[in-house]
Each structure stands twice: as C-alpha cells, then as structure tokens.
Symmetry: C2
Subunit: 364 residues, 2 copies
Amino acid sequence: MFSFYMPTKILAGENVVHENPEHLILGRKAFIVTGKRSGYASGALQDVCDTLLENRVDFVIYDRIENNPDVDSVYAAGRQAFSCGADFIIAIGGGSPLDAAKAAAVYATNDISPMDIYKDNFAHKPLPIAAIPTTAGTGSEVTPYSILTLHSAGTKRSFTCEDCFPKTAFLDGRYTLELPLQTARNTAVDAMCHCIEGYLTNRASHSSDYVALEGLRIIGRCIPRLISGKFNTDMCLDMLWASTLGGITISQTSTTIVHSMGYQLTYCRNIPHGMANGLLLGAFLDWCWETAAHRIEACLHALGMNSIEELKSALHSLLPFSESVSSDEIEDWLKVSMTAKNVNTPPRKVTIDDERSIYQKSLL
Amino acid sequence: MFSFYMPTKILAGENVVHENPEHLILGRKAFIVTGKRSGYASGALQDVCDTLLENRVDFVIYDRIENNPDVDSVYAAGRQAFSCGADFIIAIGGGSPLDAAKAAAVYATNDISPMDIYKDNFAHKPLPIAAIPTTAGTGSEVTPYSILTLHSAGTKRSFTCEDCFPKTAFLDGRYTLELPLQTARNTAVDAMCHCIEGYLTNRASHSSDYVALEGLRIIGRCIPRLISGKFNTDMCLDMLWASTLGGITISQTSTTIVHSMGYQLTYCRNIPHGMANGLLLGAFLDWCWETAAHRIEACLHALGMNSIEELKSALHSLLPFSESVSSDEIEDWLKVSMTAKNVNTPPRKVTIDDERSIYQKSLL
C-alpha cells in the first residue's frame, strides 16, 4: 500500500506574496513568526507587512525565534499568539522559524504543557499557517513536521501533525538571493538529503520516488552555481522548488538516520543542520550500497553524477569542515541517535556499530 | 508565476477501502453515488457497503448516474442527498459518477437552480467526497473539475470548484481488473491525453511537467498490455496511479482543444470520452509541432516512442473507429467547440481553420 498527501497550496514566482493577498491573509489578525535576521534580510517581512497594511489586516511581529529553537521558546511564542488574539500565523524564515511556527500554532489553540507537543494529537486545530521560506533547504513549508530542540533529551526531536501542513506556501527567489553563501550551500545540501533519504527509505513508493528524483535533477543542475556562488533569482527559485520537492518527498517517507544522527552534530557541536546531514551522507550511502545500489545509482544519475565518490567530492567543495571530533563524543551521540524513530527507515537494518562506523568515517 | 494545489489524500493498494475506514467515513450518513454498472461490477460498492456496515454508518445508494450525466440528472441526485440528510458522499465509478458526485455535493448544500452550478462560487461548502475510481483514466478523483452534459448548449461543459477536490481517493487495482477491454483502452487513452495536453498547455510549469512525464512513463510501459488485453492487478494499479498523475497534472494546467473538440464527438455521436480524445490526439500533435516540437518529443520519449507516427499507430491499435463523419457535421461541431474555454490553452493560437483541419484529418 502507498499513499500521498500534501494539502499545501504552493505559489511560486517573483513578488508572489504581494500579488496573492487572498492566500496570505488567512484570518483577521496575523501573528508573524520569524528570526532575528531572516525575515528582515530577505525582504520577505517587508513584503508581508506591506501586504497586510494595504489590506488593513492587524498583525503582531514575533522575531525572537533562535536557530534550532527549543520547546520552551516556541511555547512562549504560541502563548503570545494566543494572548494577542491572532487567528492565523505567517511564518517567515528557514527551518527554525517555520518549524517554530507550527508548534506555536498548536500552543496558541491548545492549553497544554510544552512537552505535550510530542503527543501528536490535539483537542483543537492549530492556527492556520502561511509559510514563506527564506532558505532553500528545509522543505518545512510543505511538511507536517516540526523539529525542535529538546534539552531534556539532549537532542532535536520532531512532532508530526497533519493540521500543521501550512495552508499556503510562497516561493520567491528574491528572498534567498542574498543569503550568506555558506547558508545557501548548507541548506541546499539539506534539500538534497531530503530527496536522497526519501528515495532510500523503506517507505519510498510510486508517490514519492518521482518527486525525489525531480528534486535531485534540479539540485544537480544548481550545484555548479552553489560551488561558484554565482546566484540569480531564476536559480534561487529553482532551488526553492527543489527544496519544496524534498519536503513533499519526506512528507510521504520521513527521513533516515542521516537526519537523526545529524541532530547530535547540531545539538552538541552547533554544526548547521544541512551541513551536519551532508557530512554524514557519503558514508551513509556507502553503507547502504550493499542493499540499495540500484536506487543509489538512480539518485546519482538524477544529480548528473556517476559515483558516490563524485557526490562526496561535490559535498567536500560545498561543506568546509575541519573540526576535530573524538571517539568518546561519538559514543555519547550514539546513545541518543540509536533511540530515534529513524533507525527503522533505512533500506537495511541499523545497528549501533553501523552508526558508529558512519560517524567515524565521516568525522574522524 | 506558477502554483501547485492538490489537497486530496490518496490511498493506493489492494483492499485499501476496507483497511482505511477512517478515510472513507467522512461523516455520519453517506450518500453513495455510482452508475448502474460500475459500482457493482468492480466490487467497490460491496467493499464500501461492508466497511460502512461494520462501522455502523448509515448510507443511501444512488446508482442512477448515466454515462455523461446531464445537469438536471445530477441536480436530482444532489437534492436527494440533501433530503435524505447525508453529510458526506462516496463516489464510485468512472468519470461520470465521480463528476456527478461533485455536482451533487454542491446541490446538496446549496439551494440553487441547476444552471447555477456554472457560477463556480457557492454560498455553502459542498459535502465532502471520498472518491473511488473504477476506471483508470478520468483522474477526477484528484481534480476540482466536473464535466456535465449541457443540453441547452449542445455539448459537455465543466465547472470548477476547489472545495470539490475529493477529500480522499482510493486506488485499488482489483476494481479495474475486469473492465471491458475497450473501456480500459478508452480510459487509458484519456489518462494519456491528460498528461500530454497538460504538458503542452501554456499553463504547464515546473509543478506539472514532471508529474505529466511520470504519468506518461507509466502509461508507456502499460501500452503492450493494453493492446494484448493481458491485465493483472499490479498493471491495473499502475494505470490507476498514472491516471491520478494525469488528474494532478490537469488540476494545475487544465486540458486543451483535444478535450473541448472531443466533447462534440461524445455529445453528438456518443463516442466514449477517452476514445474521442484519442481520435483527435495525433492530428493535434501534428498541428502543435510547429511551436512545441521539443515538448512533444519529451512526451514521446516518456512514452518510450520515437515519433508521432508511432503514437498514432498505438492509438490505432487501441481505438477501433470506422464511423463515417460528414463535413457538415464538423461545421456544426465547430460552432460549439470554438466557444470553449480551452481554445486559449494550446501552445499556439487556435483558429476555426485549425480545429476544422484537426477534425478532418482525424475523422474523414
């Protein structure tokens, strides 16, 4: 059996926020969730505010979302959305603000404790969300997932809520054009990982495979510009669309241990999420080769590459990494990573020795 | 600018209706819309009734949907859904019952005159629909369109309502396994037309192209079995999925003059919808070649074919047609077909001489 579900209405193109107020304005009062930088630097927040003002829609800006936000901080955002009487959310940013907005949307309508977010089942529907990505990588604008930092578990952990699919998503290449180059690279690698991991999970199917491969075809065409740093709005929109395809893919399949192992690198060493995934991807593919050679070859072919080595070489160009990691650290990370849901999704059974080997080959 | 929207939850596989009652049962009382044959012969109606009975959900069976139902007949269905107090619809069948169900869903909640269905804007949301295709062609299970016979206009005419996207769609290859061979062929050609036309419209984009090509890849692999008549449930599920991909495609792009010209063949000569499209497709592609050669080649490549002639040969094998058509008839059809919305969607400007030539080359 297989399934497909992705109810978000996607609008893409230059000036798409301003030209589609009816899809941005999902209620009477907006709670705008963004980070300290992303909403402002991208120009997206300005477009949103202009559009709301022109349409005389009241709004509150909440621009305090940190990178990798923790459960308590998004709880605070959600309760503020409630107390200010907002009836919809506009999320602007990379994965952190978008994922934070989903949690805030739940807390705004449900008087629950912070940790209850992980129950995945809520008495009241979350506030509707309009999502505006300012990085091309997360795919969060088209997923029901929200990944939050959970200090009590010493890692990041996701919750899933179908009602958290954003109602609308706006892709405008201008918003990612001026991203810091390394951020653009890290997030592009995240999108690539979503497509590859989704294609390799044991939940991959007819309904996700062709989406993942289309994402990889686009990313493959963008890699030269990601390496050279020569961006334009067309290429930025292409990468946003590829990122959305990665999100559509993992909405059907979930991710794999690349993600759950990567969470430790982010939590313990502050390595950006996309980079963390990309550092682990090559060794993960080597490990998968035994049972999934044909499917890995399909991914490489879509990227326009001939071997895992060629992909590793591209990742090496995109992701500078020179930190030293110790074997003891890896042992600590394994204690957490082996408890993740994702240990059940790869194309072969995962043991602690497998994960140790992937960490070691990637980082030592 | 481009967009993507397809909110239907799709569930696919053997026994998928019975195994997912929570997605079939969208309310307290079901109004089951089906035809005289399709629901019964496919086994789908039995599966639905068993599932509803096991879950103690009340239902009414309305099995009076004719082929190419007219506006008045679906109005009657809708008013009966209202008067019996149904709060959701289960649609079982080919395009006729599925499209009828969408109109009935509108009439059930809106006290409007039959012709008001073409206003595309209704005070009350239509009843939610669970859709179960018993042919692999219409794609109606994942579109907001309903095409009804409109005697006052002497043709078939569509209405569009985003709230008419079925909430859920169930694809089970067993339901199409025993279709009459010619019906299977006609409907498969309809699915092929949706993918090709969607790919060639001037509304095609990033968000529809890869869906259309994936549909064509699957249909291309199924053509030998469609010709030989040797079906199995795997191939039937593949064709259902290809048909759904065709529906997803045209939900973004709409169709072209192949469809609007074909409606005359169906209305005036009772030629089945898919066959009508297929008879016109080859001449349409020849006509498009001047402005869309590369895109036609992409479609042919996805089908595993090298030329329009090869596609015409396959269509000839699939669609026996020996009726005689007169030039006078064609002139009558042109009066209607040139008024259709679809004259604006092909990749080059359409004149009455163009449509005349396509009719003549296809049918004389």
